[in-house]
Subunit: 223 residues, 2 copies
């Protein structure tokens, strides 16, 4: 039975994990899995799994468990993975070049159609192992007018990010995968943003290692 | 009054954010802030903020708010940011080169002392804008025996990660900042791990953009 309450951030964050684990099971030829087995594999309680999946409709059968292929496909649809939303990369330095390949398969919801940088030496080249062309950042608006990307991966320094965010929103961008440490969508409504704060991430590891002696009190793995 | 209950994952994840926001306030010369103002800035409820900070001891005064510099310093200590835990990078490709600079300041809890790769052309060079030397992965154990790093940034393909994880644990590593899509610390106790799943992250954006029409039902920003 589908649960109509708003979907919480925690559930949204778990969805891709389910997709990933189910994909791995599929690769191994597993056709069926109980919530108990999935629970053991993913380190989430079986009841949490059932609760999460109930947000999206009835899956699985009492006593039978879940059919891996069907569940994988359904979650993929909920995630919108075949939408091929046109996307651009802004900032083709090491970080940009490192994260762009996440979009190459076109099975993650996006289709990467262009990249932008301030470095003129990159213009006219393509991102490695792809045919994604790199343009100068001055040509952003013209490109967006013509090709209408809806999402942007932002890999620029914080000092450039605020101004860039405004340009991108004005150029029609409605979704951000944001690696700059500028939390920009606080200023925009109805624009989707996933902020990736690498600095927060490493400081979290520092916390965990600092408090590792508090055995039994601290979680030691952050998924 | 200090709350002695185990610290939840949610609180741990918020700590670096507090540190980041307080650092920015400090840079702007703000000396004092109320939980209400901080709440408005960080988009967390004032009561959540008070609750979180109570886990670590009493901060702030009724009617006065928090002293930014003191709170920033205290959270920095809780996070262990001046510990300079010796760390190594494994995988000096685009991703490794992109994330390693997070450790250069030595103010994030770690001191990056070496990097490793399978590419022999990199051996003998250093990571850009640093004096961190790159060694061949075959020399890992010898280096660890001599220099005793405790943390590792893992930026290798999933296919190499399982075997690498075993080598690293045997070599004395007790903390992982893991970018490979292999969830390795399920097999280890008392080893701290922060997994960064870039694939999950981009799929989350796909979900948010796919469901943006469900106004009022979906959060649009993932911090």
């Amino acid at each position: 039975m589908k649960d109509d309450r708003p979907i919480s951030v925690s559930v949204i964050r778990r969805l891709p994990r389910y997709y990933r684990f189910l994909g791995e099971l599929l690769e191994k030829g597993v056709t069926r899995i109980s919530s108990k087995e999935l629970s053991s594999l993913m380190k989430i309680t079986a009841s949490q799994i059932r609760q999460d999946l109930n947000c999206f409709g009835g899956f699985g059968q009492q006593g039978y468990g879940y059919q891996v292929e069907i569940l994988h496909k359904e979650i993929g649809e909920i995630l919108g993975l075949s939408n091929e939303i046109p996307a651009i990369l802004v900032g083709a330095g090491n970080l940009g070049k490192a994260v762009a390949p996440q979009l190459y398969s076109k099975k993650r919801g996006f289709h990467l159609i262009g990249a932008f940088d301030i470095d003129r030496r990159l213009v006219g080249t393509t991102l490695r192992k792809s045919d994604v062309a790199i343009y100068h950042i001055d040509d952003l608006e013209e490109f967006c007018e013509k090709h209408k990307p809806l999402a942007a991966i932002v890999c620029v320094p914080k000092s450039s990010a605020a101004q860039l965010a405004d340009r991108l929103v004005n150029a029609g961008i409605r979704g951000f995968w944001n690696f700059s440490s500028y939390d920009f969508p606080y200023h925009y409504d109805n624009i989707a943003t996933v902020n990736v704060h690498l600095g927060d991430s490493i400081m979290t590891l520092s916390y965990l290692m600092t408090h590792m002696d508090d055995k039994g009190k601290q979680p030691t793995t952050l998924r």
